[in-house]
Symmetry: C3
């Protein structure tokens, strides 16, 4: 049971649900590949006007599926394939989607979850949702393109606090920082998102797609892709970005988590 | 009566008032052209130290003058001329002005009003002012350069919510997002802006002009002009940015507004 | 007594203290040069995992040491050397440091202090700290690279308000704008920073350094260095950025401050 991505849709609105029982919807490699396939399909549907991305069972997504990590994270080539093909493949498919995307966020929104939410256009969260990317406890850095994406979405200060101090932030903080569009009581969130999706579906769909294309073009040169490209050029192309794969620190962080003990760095 | 731009000035401070009675100061083409001429003039006055931009009769500006739209919006060439010459001509004249600009914002600050405010250096608003760009109800996207300008000023999340969901935000939200410098009770706003303009006028004027030149140069390469240029290259140069002019969706949105009925997209 | 930079360290955490008695730790030229030397040294220590930057005696840093200004500010060549070598030399050394930097901010954080804080990764402040760069009272603009640095850290609106209106902001404002990670009561700040430094020191150190390298690479192309380079090209290379050195306005601002009288611009 490596989790899956569930999709339901009516004529104009689709719901994409991250689902991994018992793991707060942690993203397995199979889920990343499925997420890409789902967005490739949904993005090709000309009738679609809004997509809601949510997690199953009261959480958005707690991060990556760490149980899988020993199988590929300690080899630089496999690690690069994981980040650049599986993870970025899915995130790029989301970023390339012309349909407005709403993130419906409850509970944990960490690491991979934060990255997935960062690809959405609007982000609505429960007052008790929590946000972070505490991978410094796991002994590894954020991949360059993912850091560009998250840094842009959460703001540089919050990104640095998440990455360097393993800080976790609450929804009101993420609202003031421009990451969340609205913060709502848990009991109101689903109804509000439902109403918002219907409202977006009633607005001009061609205009929405053109607005997304324009903002993507601006970001492409300005920041996101430019940035990611730059990161790739400066860091990944010389293979340095993934050379830490076999380091003691990386092995210790992942191993300690799996063995349910504190890491010693 | 297509509205006008009123100007008054003492030796060091000028007031520019957007004025279109009965239309919450909606910008007609004549007003856009006049706004450009006003800023070309004011920008050339070496004695000027501060310019306050405000709206007449309790509102900043509710957007474009939609009544004029059927005359030019449904032809791609005319539409491009409107956005790139009339609208951007005025906004660029504001951005090129070396004198510190204060936006004094009451009531509605929508669409064209949001763009005009985005060209100011400082933005002070009444607690009951409202901000948005709900053109998705009118069936058209924001022009690329204007989206670059607004996205930079209001933040990307707020820009996406305004454009994709027709969201309207209050002044406290716009303050946390870095769009507003101060939010004040309606009854205190005018006095506060007046005092601020006098305070700026007493500060070093050459330093202010150099600071604006520096920030413009930084933005030019970094974001605003670079972005706008990129948007123009990627979107407008192949004519795609204005090809929607004659689309059914565009006609429906504008027509429904003028006929005072809900649009059907 | 031109002030100094005090350093203390245990194996993994260092404390850097800005110290200039009677001047709220205003940065003299000697202090700028010392700050660069300190960060060149600390950055070369592979065992270091966290650096805390603070001010002595209840203030972070009130700005530059204005008493020194008549000695070099009115000559364009000397002025450029001051900004590009002394000031930027120190700031660049901080930006180049791969170790996570925490700014511990009490009292005044103005001008030079704001620039130093802007080079840190995390910024924690007392609720009663104050932030600004009121150099418009001193008759001079912010140097291009420094404006790029500060504008990025505090946000463009806040930067414009600080530079054009000499506005001073409180800690809660700077928190909403993404400049401060946390705002804490004065009595809790030191303990919180101490605990945070220890927490960072226990996290994966190689991952932290790689995250800082990635974010620096992204910024390098995106904003900070790119921006600074652009500012330098557009403004400084034609010598215009420092041509104001001998102007009446500049002399009046600095002289009035030293003579403890209001400037007349």
């Amino acid at each position: 049971m490596a989790g899956d991505i569930a999709v339901s849709a009516d004529e104009t609105v689709a719901w994409v649900t991250l689902r991994h029982a018992g793991k707060f919807n942690a993203m397995s490699r199979a889920m990343w590949r499925s997420l890409k396939a789902v967005f490739d399909d949904l993005g090709a549907d000309p009738a679609l006007r809004c997509i809601v991305v949510k997690g199953d069972a009261g959480h958005f997504c707690a991060g990556g599926d760490i149980g899988e990590y020993p199988g590929f994270r300690f080899d630089p080539v496999l690690l690069q394939e994981f980040h650049e093909d599986d993870v970025w493949g899915a995130l790029q498919a989301m970023l390339d989607c012309d349909v407005p995307l709403i993130a419906h966020i409850q509970g944990n929104c960490m690491g991979a979850g934060l990255e997935i939410a960062s690809c959405c256009d609007l982000r609505l969260a429960s007052t008790v949702a929590r946000f972070g990317a505490p991978i410094a406890r796991l002994g590894f850095p954020m991949a360059p393109r993912e850091a560009a994406l998250v840094g842009r979405a959460v703001g540089e200060m919050t990104a640095r606090a998440m990455l360097l101090a393993a800080d976790v932030f609450d929804a009101p903080h993420m609202h003031t920082q421009g990451f969340l569009t609205r913060v709502l009581p848990e009991s109101h969130l689903a109804d509000h998102v439902q109403a918002l999706a219907q409202r977006i579906a009633a607005l001009a769909p061609q205009a929405a797609r053109m607005n997304k294309q324009t903002l993507r073009a601006l970001n492409g040169r300005l920041a996101l892709a430019g940035c990611a490209q730059c990161a790739t050029e400066l860091i990944a192309n010389d293979a340095a970005a993934y050379a830490y794969a076999d380091s003691a620190e990386h092995r210790e962080g992942v191993s300690a988590f799996i063995e349910k003990r504190p890491p010693g760095f």
